[in-house]
Symmetry: C2
Subunit: 331 residues, 2 copies
């Protein structure tokens, strides 16, 4: 389902990152950077993630000199069971709340729901937030870090941070031009250590559907940017689109998971992941470079493996989803 918008603008963004992301090549684009450990003064990792989200919300409120009451709607989701980081953040704000979950594709889902509320004039200002925390994800989805379990080279590294994206009907320099809602795709992959392979088909389907619905060629965009397939998933996506749809995106395509870290030097295996990985790349780096005119039209495609460890233990394959959002500099 593809929708075009006429009146949805990004008023501003605010990005918060941890030390690994601060050590990466895009550090200069983030608003608040943590440099020490992953607790940020909290007693647990889960509470540390709530703190990051609150820093993002407080950050954008301060940056724009607005009040909570100036925001009509808060849309948030994260990787914690029960999207707990979002719920326990939201209880501290007097803003109507919608909780969403599409794993690492959550920022895209939030943007297209938020855009629908703004475009239909049901809300003037919508705040979309998401977060992830490396240690929370390791604890919940993988092994206790104390085990020191070796990682497969196709594994990815969950990014730590939070992003806040303020959508508004007030004209600004970057607008949400259109969006395509993705479908849940499951081609039978069962390897939890290779999420790039799991998610690439979902990204491929939504990119194909977006281009078909808008009657565009890949070169309409300065950049098509998935997130977060990693170095192997990126190649799988290019193959998938070429094999299934004879569609070549290689000249203007990149993946957020390959951009957030220095993959050669940092211990991130196939690249970054987690909802905030594409969040930091898209709303730190890409958004700020769009403000500077480096990119004019960008199709962002946050990708998520919407799997459950319980179903994986029950021998089920892994479903995934991706949404496509077209960002455009307002001339």
């Amino acid at each position: 389902m593809t929708t075009k918008y006429n009146n949805v603008y990004i008023e501003d963004t605010y990005t918060v990152c941890g030390n690994y992301e601060n050590d990466g090549p895009l550090s200069e684009y983030f608003d608040l950077k943590h440099e020490k450990d992953l607790y940020f003064g909290e007693k647990t990792w889960e509470k540390a993630e709530v703190k990051l989200l609150k820093e993002a919300v407080d950050g954008i409120i301060d940056k724009k000199k607005i009040e909570e009451e100036d925001i009509d709607l808060l849309i948030s989701g994260d990787l914690q069971n029960q999207i707990a980081a979002s719920d326990y953040m939201a209880r501290d704000y007097n803003i109507p709340f919608l909780g969403i979950f599409e794993a690492c594709a959550t920022s895209g889902e939030g943007l297209l729901i938020g855009s629908t509320f703004v475009e239909s004039k049901n809300a003037k200002r919508v705040l979309v937030t998401t977060s992830s925390h490396n240690m929370v994800a390791e604890k919940q989805f993988r092994n206790p870090t104390e085990y020191g379990a070796p990682k497969h080279k196709t594994a990815t590294f969950t990014a730590t941070g939070a992003v806040a994206i303020l959508l508004s009907n007030k004209k600004s320099k970057v607008r949400i031009e259109s969006s395509t809602v993705g479908k849940v795709i499951d081609l039978g992959t069962t390897d939890v250590n290779h999420m790039g392979a799991v998610m690439a088909p979902a990204a491929g389907e939504v990119i194909y559907n977006h281009l078909k619905d808008t009657k565009r060629k890949p070169d309409y965009y300065d950049l098509i940017l998935t997130g977060d397939l990693g170095i192997y998933g990126k190649d799988i996506l290019k193959d998938y689109l070429m094999t299934n749809y004879n569609l070549d995106i290689s000249s203007n395509y990149n993946d957020c998971g390959t951009m957030l870290y220095d993959i050669q030097k940092q211990p991130v295996f196939a690249g970054g992941s987690g909802p905030v990985c594409s969040g930091l790349v898209n709303f730190g780096y890409i958004y700020k470079e769009m403000l500077q005119g480096k990119f004019k039209k960008v199709l962002i495609v946050p990708t998520g493996a919407v799997f459950s460890p319980t179903f994986t233990f029950q021998k089920e394959s892994i479903p995934s989803i991706a949404n496509a959002i077209s960002l455009e500099v307002v001339e």
Copy 2:
């Protein structure tokens, strides 16, 4: 945030229930009733819940003689970690998908998001689904059932079933007249065995805000129906609204958690809960009685405790949310 709609109709609903719900007083209103055990032919409880959701989706598709492709958008959420029942259901349908989570308030959230897509003409038909499964909830949130842990009298019984609500821009007998998005409320309650006390303030706040925004008195509605506070939470809500806002709703108020089961005879303690408890009452009983003219204007207020067992172990209090949706018979 309150929104009025002009063109959002309930095209139809489909309800699926388990044996406990089938033994309750509202059984005659449900479309598909399971009578035996809680596995429904599946090997695990989690997969059994997926089956219920698929029965609800297939049921509404068959009932309306439509195809998957006639549905523009599927919105679903449930209580499983990673809303797994919804994700693993959605992979079997070729329908764009939005995953949501507000615990037992999920059906209300789905309705107001779906209504926004229909009202803004971004979608002609939206299918909103939710589910819960007693044994999945016991396993994930409470104790292994084999322990036979005694229950507190304020505890509730998670309902088993699934509901599908088909929203459309095509005129029908019942419409979504307006909605009010709730805020996450946390007044410091920590008792996981008394969710009615946790959720009553969230219900109170959204009912108050809805009536204020629409300039209505409680008697505008034939019925104000929360779900699922249970017998104790119901009294707490009435006290909360009287004490804080001098608002008396007692003459036309009821709670879904007190209606789904025969509380005197069935082993449900303070009543029913789970996303599908209010789902079955609202879209089985209430919807069908609206079609018959018994109720003309009903304010449904699904309530949810958006808590995380992890945060509860970390001594945090329990956040909750509720949304208000006004259903109206079209004259």
